[in-house]
């Protein structure tokens, strides 16, 4: 049995960033690094060589030609970029990473590499929002090239559909760090992510159920908080509203899903604190 194909990174910087209004790859979110610098450094940290994917006529910022993959399929998007990469180097597995994932962590990429299944056609994470394939950080094996090329030739451009339509043998992973794949496509999304990173205030709705509602003196309220997790938020509110109950017997939910105390939340989140249930 031959060894698994080497994994090589493809950083997608060929998007037009229309909705953002500025080049997403050049945006800075943390540590003073541009998104591109952050991803390149992350890939280097995990030992993966990286190539820059650009449009056919895009300025490649002084990079050497042999570290660039120029789009050869009419700049139709990420699948075309991948097809271009697979045509150039059909022998490697391409770890495709979008440039609009400000929260991407080394942990997330390491999990993808560790749980990669080379005998499948692709390994990806499932989205924390809808459970569907998240193609923005995924490994595409050489065996996926024919299907990718056929899809692009047929002018079908949705990578997510290709990963879920059954034509490829795929492996879906549940990310240990679910927020790592949150992407920022618009200025509003970028702002929300920046606020979350900086611990800046987010406006949320908090619902107090059961005895908590009696203790708080209200069933719910809208407030601004810098808390990074629901656990921190509960601690803040326990003090501010003189709640008597301990977190140990309370359960939390964010946007109608049970979460544990470490869970974060975005601007506009609907957060519920629930004492022990007594239905039936």
């Amino acid at each position: 049995m031959s060894a698994a194909p080497k994994v090589v990174g493809l950083m997608l910087a060929g998007g037009k960033s229309r909705r953002m209004g500025e080049d997403k790859a050049a945006m800075v979110f943390r540590d003073g690094q541009t998104q591109l610098e952050m991803i390149e450094s992350l890939l280097s940290d995990v030992g993966v060589e990286s190539f820059l994917s650009v449009r056919a006529d895009q300025d490649a910022a002084g990079r050497l030609d042999d570290t660039i993959v120029r789009d050869a399929f009419g700049d139709v998007g990420p699948l075309g970029a991948l097809a271009s990469a697979q045509a150039m180097r059909p022998d490697v597995a391409w770890l495709v990473v979008a440039c609009d994932l400000p929260m991407l962590s080394k942990q997330a990429v390491e999990q993808l590499l560790a749980d990669r299944t080379p005998s499948a056609d692709a390994t990806f994470f499932s989205s924390r929002f809808d459970g569907r394939p998240e193609p923005l950080c995924a490994i595409w094996e050489p065996s996926s090239a024919a299907a990718v090329r056929a899809t692009v030739d047929a002018k079908k451009l949705c990578a997510r559909h290709l990963l879920e339509d059954g034509s490829l043998d795929v492996v879906a992973l549940t990310p240990d760090d679910p927020t790592a794949l949150d992407n920022a496509n618009t200025p509003e999304e970028a702002d929300a992510i920046r606020k979350q990173m900086a611990g800046e205030p987010r406006q949320v709705i908090v619902r107090y159920f059961g005895v908590l509602g009696a203790e708080a003196g209200m069933p719910s309220e809208s407030l601004a908080t810098s808390a990074a997790s629901v656990g921190e938020l509960f601690a803040e509110l326990k003090a501010a509203r003189s709640l008597v109950q301990d977190a140990a017997i309370i359960r939390a939910a964010v946007n109608d899903e049970f979460v544990d105390w470490a869970a974060g939340f975005d601007d506009g989140a609907d957060i519920a604190f629930m004492p022990p249930f007594a239905g039936g």
Binding site: G210, V211, A253, D256, F277, A278, G279
Partner: protein
């Protein structure tokens, strides 16, 4: 289907809904409001719910029961709001080809609903006091507001 209603539960309707010619066994459970709790005289109670999450979790429970006991048809309705002594708080209806599954699925559903569905019960006592039930681990001393 798991449902939440603020009106009286029609248990017969649930029974008719699960009834099917290929089912030979029917088991149902009704939770009634009783007049005592831990030695205290209860005069009424009030159920409240986190509706969206309760519907989600209750639906999951029913799906689990039907998966664990293939062939079983399961329905459950829980009532919220002010209930008087003798009112039906919850009804579970199960029909299945044979009785074993019906008993087991019914037991499973009521046990899981009580444990996992975000519904709360405030009890009112003959002496005018009230308490949040199921909160044995809860601390006392919070301000109480009557609605």
């Amino acid at each position: 289907m798991f449902e939440i209603t603020d009106e009286a539960i029609d248990c017969d309707a649930l029974k008719r809904s699960v009834q099917q010619d290929d089912c030979g066994g029917f088991v149902s459970f009704e939770g009634w409001v009783r007049n005592h709790h831990k030695g205290r005289d209860v005069v009424g109670l009030s159920y409240s719910a986190y509706r969206e999450l309760a519907l989600k979790e209750g639906t999951k429970v029913l799906a689990e029961a039907e998966a664990k006991w293939p062939g079983a048809r399961v329905l459950c309705t829980h009532r919220i709001g002010r209930l008087e002594i003798g009112d039906v708080a919850v009804c579970v209806a199960v029909a299945s080809p044979h009785r074993e599954e019906a008993f087991a699925a019914c037991r499973y559903v009521i046990d899981e609903v009580k444990s996992r569905v975000p519904i709360w019960k405030e009890e009112f006592y003959a002496d005018g006091s009230d308490a949040w039930v199921g909160c044995d681990g809860c601390k006392k001393g919070g301000a109480h507001h009557h609605h």
